[in-house]
């Protein structure tokens, strides 16, 4: 590169690259005014175009979420209240001939459900180990536009639970369903607000259906490295509203 030869002192990669960018753009580093304008673009973080399908009434979005999630090979079961979740999980295990041992996300709400109501069900809370077959986790939100679940890593939600077990069950409330991705970002900016900005979780997982691959002769197969099945227990927590 041109710059490498210019001086006896070797420039850092950072200086070399930024210098080369500015030289190619034919200008020095941006002026304070120009920087201010770009900072402003970031500070406002406006949504670009949001497709029409991501807008509209909440009830319709809940319908769309289920439809899109099923199209992405999820299974969805609607239950009337959160008290029904342990039973729905037990039924799911039975229907799939699975052992009755599940790993729950160490989340107070999830852990606080009445798992003892299912006498055959063994539960433990924590990150996923290599032999865990079934995990049950909550989610932060769900997006109707593509049937996508959104989960944040943290002490109540180890990321491994979303990827290591063969079967991933997600307990979701209908009030968590939004139309478009941008609404999730708005909620995230609010709940994780810090000073003028917000804190990103270490990992934001947007999950649309179980793991899949088409790398062998373009034949679609589920269960490549992540879960073979993704089951959503959707709790109607808005009954009687609207």
């Amino acid at each position: 590169m041109k710059d490498a030869k210019t001086g006896p002192v070797k420039k850092s990669g950072r200086e070399t690259i930024l210098g080369a960018i500015r030289q190619s753009l034919g200008r020095p580093a941006l002026s304070a005014d120009a920087r201010h304008e770009l900072d402003d673009h970031i500070a406002k973080h406006r949504a670009n175009l949001v497709p029409a399908r991501g807008k509209g009434e909440h009830a319709a979005q809940v319908e769309r979420f289920q439809e899109m999630a099923r199209a992405a090979a999820c299974t969805v079961e609607l239950v009337a209240s959160e008290a029904a979740v342990p039973g729905a999980v037990a039924d799911y295990l039975r229907a799939n001939n699975l052992p009755t041992r599940v790993t729950l996300a160490p989340d107070d709400w999830l852990g606080g459900l009445d798992w003892n109501s299912q006498s055959l069900l063994e539960t433990r809370q924590g990150a996923a180990g290599i032999n865990d077959l079934v995990s049950v986790t909550p989610a932060f939100a769900a997006v109707a536009e593509t049937g996508t679940l959104v989960a944040f890593s943290g002490k109540t939600h180890p990321t491994t639970l979303n990827f290591v077990p063969d079967y991933h069950v997600v307990a979701l409330r209908t009030s968590q369903v939004v139309g478009a991705y941008e609404e999730v970002w708005a909620r995230l900016r609010k709940v994780n607000k810090q000073g003028r900005g917000f804190t990103m979780p270490r990992t934001v997982n947007m999950i649309t259906g179980p793991s899949r691959t088409a790398d062998i002769a373009l034949t679609l197969e589920l269960g490549a490295h992540g879960p073979r099945s993704l089951h959503i227990v959707l709790i109607d927590d808005q009954a009687g509203q609207d």
Partner: protein
């Protein structure tokens, strides 16, 4: 076939056209990816608008790339991450090695990354006694076969199912898997079971990045298998190898590209896993890597800025251009002899490797324009291919016979009456020669065409004759509606 030698494109193409396995594998691409993309685009009425916005955003970022990279660096560091600025592939290799050595890494798992291919990371790590384990099924297949990728999102797209069956048997037999599997589900399972322990044993996990977010200092990966997530979550260290032009301003801006990417690439509404990673694990996290490093590679990109090929830096690596390219569909990716293949590769490779060594690639196109039509960020690929042809001609890389041929053609092209006459004679001659079957199986001076396929015989009139006739009909009021 000799890999990674763009100088022998023609020889490679001849071999590829005669390879029946390759042709049947490539036929699947045309039958699957092309209609799938179209259906996905049709389901989203706003697709064209999103595409325009994506293009504007990329142009905006490129014009302020220094600002956004500094912003990314600041926020990545604030979240506890490290940023390594690397001007050359060697710098990037060294940076990765240094990080691996800091934990005495024996094995690293890898998610799919084109930048890792660009810097030939696997060979380099092996040379330094670190075992790289590819975890994307396609990458795993070509790692077993010791081949480079033949497609930017489907690296093993050139392999038939039977070839993969043989490959798995050959490599998995020593692991006790002595039965040859032919059912794709069982083959996927076999690879899944073999790779599972590797994720837990690896010291370092390396992924690429589809986007970097300046606002948050995050990297994004988009996958379907979940291998990238296991790769980056389980080891002690997560290294992201990526390049300058991947940065976007905000989460909302990244979202616009996410709406374009999967639809253009595989025709999915959304890929199974889109993951945004920011820094190392937090103090109260239960899992996740203890360190987070971003390797930012330049490798010639900064000099592409402000040049006539700047538009190429908008590329979001969806692969739609190659899926729709009649040349790529016929010869496959290995023929190009470069890491990046198809129309985007034929434009990018001369910028990365120099036009003299890659001069055949911009010529391997009929300039039919399908690539530009399907590009979600409207890169004018045919125009850029033509520009490289001109540069290559100017640089004197074109051999005498080809130059002479071009001058010969130019002589006629500048004399329309002579061109017209010549075309009439040629068309009538070819029609006569092909009168029996309506096609020509062999033709002097056109072996390059007829070796691989038949030449349809002309129907009797030149384009200009037919055009004139049509215009006469229209003038007379004989509508063509």
């Amino acid at each position: 076939m000799e890999f990674m030698n763009p100088g022998i494109f023609k020889e490679n193409a001849r071999a590829a056209l005669a390879d029946q396995d390759l042709r049947s594998a490539m036929a699947m691409l045309n039958a699957g990816m092309v209609p799938n993309r179209q259906a996905a685009v049709d389901r989203l009425p706003e697709f064209a608008q999103l595409s325009r916005r994506g293009r504007e955003l990329k142009d905006h970022v490129l014009g302020n790339l220094d600002f956004y990279l500094e912003c990314f660096e600041r926020n990545c560091k604030a979240a506890g991450g490290h940023v390594h600025w690397c001007t050359t592939p060697e710098d990037a290799q060294e940076a990765v090695l240094k990080i691996c050595r800091s934990v005495n890494a024996k094995t690293v798992t890898k998610g799919k990354s084109m930048i890792a291919e660009e810097i030939h990371l696997n060979e380099f790590l092996e040379k330094h006694n670190i075992e790289p384990v590819e975890t994307d099924l396609g990458e795993y297949i070509i790692q077993l076969a010791k081949e480079p990728p033949s497609h930017i999102i489907g690296p093993a797209i050139h392999k038939t199912k039977d070839q993969v069956s043989d490959l798995f048997l050959e490599h998995h037999a020593k692991l006790g898997r002595t039965e040859r599997q032919t059912d794709p589900q069982k083959m996927v399972n076999e690879a899944r079971e073999i790779l599972r322990q590797k994720y837990f044993d690896a010291d370092v996990g390396i992924t690429g990045a589809n986007y970097l977010i300046a606002e948050t200092g995050s990297s994004i990966i988009v996958t379907n298998e979940g291998n990238g997530d296991l790769t980056q979550t389980l080891p002690k260290i997560h290294i992201v190898v990526t390049s300058l032009e991947k940065v976007v301003p905000t989460l909302e801006d990244a979202t616009t590209f996410l709406r374009l990417l999967a639809r253009s690439a595989t025709g999915q509404e959304f890929s199974a896993y889109t993951t945004i990673s920011t820094g190392p694990r937090r103090p109260d996290d239960v899992d996740g890597p203890g360190e987070y490093h971003v390797i930012l590679l330049d490798n010639g990109r900064s000099t592409m800025l402000g040049s006539e090929v700047q538009d190429m830096l908008r590329c979001i690596r969806c692969g739609a251009c190659m899926n729709h390219c009649p040349v790529y569909q016929s010869v496959g990716g290995h023929t190009y002899g470069t890491v990046y293949v198809g129309p985007m590769g034929a434009v990018l490779s001369p910028a990365l490797l120099g036009v003299s060594d890659t001069r055949h690639l911009p010529c391997a196109s009929t300039l039919c324009g399908r690539c530009e039509e399907v590009c979600p960020v409207a890169i004018p690929l045919p125009r850029l291919l033509r520009q490289w042809r001109e540069r290559s001609f100017e640089a004197g890389d074109v051999p005498a016979l080809e130059r002479w041929g071009l001058s010969f053609w130019a002589f006629f092209a500048r004399r329309p009456w002579l061109y017209d006459l010549g075309a009439r004679l040629a068309v009538r001659g070819l029609r006569y020669l092909g009168r029996r079957q309506g096609r020509l199986r062999k033709l002097w001076f056109a072996g390059g065409w007829t070796d691989g396929r038949d030449l349809p015989a002309p129907e009797g009139q030149t384009f200009q004759e037919r055009w004139r006739r049509q215009q006469r009909v229209l003038r007379r009021g004989g509508g063509m509606r």
